[in-house]
C-alpha cells in the first residue's frame, strides 16, 4: 500500500500495517527489527508512512538498540518473528529488570501451524519467563488499539511490553478505525539512572524486586475493565480465549459466553474465576501450548483444556467446533497443493546441484535455499536455526572419521550469515577441525525468503538508501581464513563444482562466496544502485 492509503479515518489494513500506523500515531521515534515472516511488514509499513525504521543484523541487536532508545526517553518499537525472540532473549530478560524511561514495545509474531517457520513455539511463555506484560490483539483494529495501549502501559509502569501476534493477525486484513494520537509528553533526553540500569548484582537484586512489584500492580490493573471483555451468552458454556482464536470462537459457537483476554500476562485471575463460576462448562480455547489453561489451574480455577490433538497447528472455525463437541476423530489430512520450489534460473540451483553431485553432507540453514532440501536436489541434511549451518557442520567434522568428515559443507545465505553466521565463522577459525572445513555463503544480495529486504551486506538501509556495507570476503580474510573464493556460480557451473571439490579435498579452512543477485531482486537492486549513484553525483 502507498503512504496516501493510510490517511483515511477508516482503513482496511493487515495487523502488521495497523501496528505500524499506531506506532506513527504514537510518535514512536525508532522502529527496528530483523525481517521474519509474519512480522516483516510492520517496519516496512512504518517506514512507508513516514516513521524511522531500520533493519538490524539480528533481533538481539535490534532489541538492544530499542532499549537504548527507550533509556533515552523515546518510544521504541522492536519487531521479530517468534524464533527471533530466542535470539533477543538475553537482553529481554534483563531489560525487564532495568525497566525503561520511554516506551519499549517488542512484537513477537508467532506462527502456529508453521506457515513459514521451523517450529511453532508459543512465545507467551516468554512473558512469564522474563516477567513482562503481554498484549494479544485478535484482529487489525486491536492491533492498532493495543499498540497505543501497550505504549501507555510501558510508559506508566516503565516496563517493556511483549506484543504477541500470530500469523492470522499479522497477515489478515480487516477494517480499522483510527484513534486519537497519543503525543509524546517529553522530548528524548538522557538522565543518569545508574542503580536501575547498570545490572551488577547489587543493583539487579533490588531491580528484580521492583519488577515483581510492578507485575503485581499490573495484575491488579488487569482485573479492572481494560483490555479484557466479556460477551454475555449461555450459562451452559463459557469460553476463555485470546488473540485470533477469539474470532473463530465467536463464529463457531455464537451462543457461548466468552471471556476474551487482551492482556494475557499477568493474567486477570479474579476475572477468570468469576467468569468460570458463572457457567456450567468453562472451556479454554487457545492455539499451541495450554498457557491460559495452566494459568487458570494454578489459580485454582477449574477449566477444560482442548484435547491434545488440537495442540498442533492453527485453530480455525471448524477445529473450534470440534473442540467444543469433544470430537476426537482423526482430522482429514490437508490436500497437498503444489509445493514451492527454487525459482527457475535461481543461482542457488547450481550450488545445490554441485553439492548433490559431490555427495556432500550439507549442514543447511534458513532462507530460500532451505528449498534445496526438496527434489530434485535433496541436498540438505540439517536445518536448525539461523546461523546453525556453521556450528553444526563443525561439530560433524570434529567427530566423523576423516573420510566422512571431508564431505561436510556448511551452507547459508548472505542475510543469515550476517544475522548469526559471523560468530560461527569465528568458531571455525578458533577451533578448526583436523580435516579443515568448507563454508559456502550463498550471497544473492538480499533477504529473499522474507520478501527481499536489505541487510548490512547489501550496503543499503531498509528504505534502500546507500549506507555502510559489510564486505564478506574482507571480513572472512580479516578473521584469518586462508582460502577465500568469490565466484558467480551461474558463470560456469562446472568450474563452480570443481572449486567446491578442491576445497573439500584440502585439510584447511575455505570460504566460498557464491555471489549472484536473486532473480526476483535483480531489477530492483539495479534501480537502487542507479538511484544511489545519482544522489552521490548530485551532491
Amino acid at each position: 500500500m502507498h503512504a496516501e492509503d493510510f490517511r483515511g479515518e477508516k482503513l482496511f489494513l493487515s495487523g502488521d500495517e495497523a501496528v505500524a500506523l499506531a506506532a506513527l500515531h504514537a510518535d514512536v521515534k525508532l522502529g527496528t527489527g530483523y525481517p521474519g515472516t509474519p512480522s516483516t511488514e510492520i517496519l516496512e509499513t512504518f517506514e512507508r508512512v513516514g516513521g524511522h525504521a531500520q533493519w538490524a543484523p539480528n533481533e538481539k541487536v535490534a532489541l538492544e538498540v530499542g532499549i537504548g532508545a527507550a533509556f533515552a526517553g523515546a518510544r521504541a518499537l522492536v519487531t521479530m518473528k517468534h524464533v527471533g525472540l530466542n535470539v533477543a532473549a538475553d537482553p529481554l530478560f534483563t531489560v525487564a529488570y532495568t525497566g525503561v524511561t520511554g516506551a519499549l514495545i517488542i512484537v513477537s509474531a508467532d506462527d502456529p501451524g508453521m506457515a513459514s517457520s521451523q517450529n511453532e513455539q508459543d512465545n507467551r511463555r516468554y512473558a512469564v519467563a522474563a516477567g513482562v506484560p503481554m498484549l494479544e490483539p485478535s484482529d487489525s483494529q486491536e492491533a492498532y488499539d493495543f499498540t497505543l495501549r501497550a505504549i501507555e502501559i510501558s510508559e506508566r509502569w516503565h516496563v517493556p511490553v511483549l506484543f504477541r501476534m500470530t500469523t492470522r493477525v499479522c497477515h489478515s486484513k480487516s477494517v480499522v478505525q483510527r484513534g486519537a494520537a497519543i503525543p509524546v509528553a517529553h522530548p528524548s533526553h538522557f538522565e543518569h539512572e545508574i542503580r536501575s540500569r547498570v545490572m551488577i548484582p547489587a543493583n539487579a537484586r533490588p531491580a528484580h524486586r521492583r519488577l515483581r512489584e510492578k507485575l503485581q500492580q499490573l495484575a491488579e490493573w488487569n482485573e479492572t475493565p481494560s483490555l479484557n471483555s466479556i460477551t454475555a451468552g449461555s450459562d451452559q458454556l463459557g469460553i476463555i480465549t485470546s488473540g485470533a482464536c477469539y474470532q473463530h470462537v465467536r463464529e463457531a459457537v455464537p451462543d457461548a459466553s466468552v471471556l476474551k483476554l487482551g492482556m494475557t500476562y499477568p493474567l486477570p485471575t479474579d476475572l477468570m474465576r468469576k467468569f468460570a463460576a458463572g457457567v456450567e462448562r468453562c472451556l479454554v480455547i487457545e492455539e499451541g501450548d495450554p498457557y491460559l489453561v495452566e494459568g487458570a489451574r494454578m489459580a485454582g480455577i477449574t477449566v477444560e483444556n482442548k484435547p491434545d490433538m488440537y495442540r498442533f497447528g492453527e485453530l480455525n472455525v471448524c477445529r473450534v467446533r470440534r473442540i467444543v463437541a469433544g470430537d476426537l476423530l482423526p482430522e482429514a489430512a490437508p490436500i497437498p497443493g503444489k509445493p514451492p520450489a527454487l525459482c527457475p534460473g535461481c543461482p542457488h540451483r547450481i550450488a545445490f546441484t554441485a553439492l548433490k553431485n559431490l555427495g556432500c553432507y550439507v549442514a543447511g540453514d534458513i532462507g530460500c535455499y532451505s528449498l534445496g532440501v526438496l527434489p530434485p536436489f535433496e541436498a540438505m541434511d540439517s536445518l536448525v536455526c539461523m546461523g546453525a549451518a556453521i556450528g553444526v557442520g563443525l561439530g560433524m567434522r570434529h567427530v566423523l572419521p576423516p573420510a566422512e568428515a571431508k564431505r561436510v559443507v556448511s551452507v547459508l545465505g548472505d542475510s543469515t550469515f550476517v544475522h548469526s553466521g559471523i560468530t560461527g565463522l569465528v568458531e571455525m577459525v578458533y577451533n578448526p577441525p583436523p580435516t579443515g572445513h568448507v563454508l559456502l555463503i550463498l550471497d544473492n544480495g538480499t533477504t529473499a525468503m522474507t520478501g527481499l529486504q536489505e541487510h548490512p551486506g547489501t550496503g543499503r538501509t531498509l528504505e534502500h538508501a546507500s549506507t555502510g556495507k559489510v564486505i564478506f570476503e574482507d571480513l572472512v580474510r580479516a578473521l584469518g581464513v586462508p582460502n577465500v573464493f568469490v565466484t558467480d556460480p551461474t558463470a560456469d557451473p562446472e568450474s563452480f563444482e570443481e572449486l567446491v571439490r578442491a576445497a573439500l579435498a584440502k585439510p584447511e579452512l575455505s570460504v566460498i562466496i557464491a555471489r549472484r543477485n536473486c532473480l526476483l531482486a535483480a531489477k530492483s537492486i539495479r534501480g537502487y544502485e542507479k538511484c544511489n549513484e545519482q544522489q552521490v553525483s548530485g551532491d
Partner: protein
C-alpha cells in the same frame, strides 16, 4: 447468501505469480468501499516460489474469523485448473466455481490479465456496482496496465452472464 446478516465467503486460489493475492486485494477493497465489514486472510512467505497460494475473502454486516471454513465457500475462483482439486472441498454444495475455462483467453490483450478477467466473472455474481470494481482495479494496479485490465474485467463480466 445475499441476505444482510449472512457472510459471503470467497476463496481465490492458484499458483504463486498468477496474481491471486492481487485480485483478492481488489475484491476485498470493493467490499470495503461498499461499507461492509470485510476480512481477508492468506499465507505469505512461500508464494513467490511458485507454490500453491490461496486467499480467503469474507464480507457481510459482521465478520469474525478471517478464514473461510472448509465447505462454506460460496465462490471458489481458481487461476489454474489443476488447483481446483486441491480447493474444491472448500466450496459449499451449491457453491459457484469460477475457472480459466470460462474465459476465451484469445480475447485477452495480455494473458497475465487472466486473474482480473476471472474477477470479472465473479463480479457478475455479486451485487457491487461496476464503478466500484473499476475504482478498486485502478487503485491496485499501476496506471500503465489499467486499460488492459479493465478490458479483461469487462470480458470476464460478460462471460459471467453466459
Amino acid at each position: 447468501m445475499n441476505s444482510k446478516s449472512a457472510v459471503t465467503n470467497i476463496v481465490v486460489a492458484g499458483l504463486g505469480g498468477q496474481g491471486v493475492l492481487k485480485i483478492s486485494d481488489i475484491l476485498a477493497e470493493v467490499a470495503f468501499l461498499s461499507g461492509l465489514d470485510v476480512k481477508k486472510s492468506e499465507i505469505h512467505g512461500m508464494s513467490q516460489r511458485g507454490g500453491s497460494v490461496s486467499s480467503d475473502i469474507r464480507f457481510g454486516a459482521k465478520v469474525f474469523s478471517p478464514m473461510v471454513p472448509a465447505g462454506e465457500a460460496n465462490f471458489l475462483l481458481v487461476t489454474q485448473e489443476d488447483q481446483v482439486a486441491v480447493n474444491l472441498h472448500l466450496l459449499t454444495a451449491n457453491g459457484v466455481l469460477i475457472q480459466p475455462a470460462q474465459i476465451d483467453q484469445s480475447q485477452l490483450r495480455n494473458k497475465r490479465s487472466l486473474n482480473v478477467a476471472l474477477l470479472g466473472v465473479l463480479s457478475h455474481h455479486l451485487s457491487f456496482p461496476e464503478e466500484t470494481w473499476k475504482t478498486a482495479i485502478q487503485r491496485h494496479l499501476p496506471e500503465v496496465v489499467h486499460e488492459v485490465n479493465l478490458q479483461a474485467f469487462a470480458l470476464g463480466r460478460k462471460a459471467g452472464t453466459h
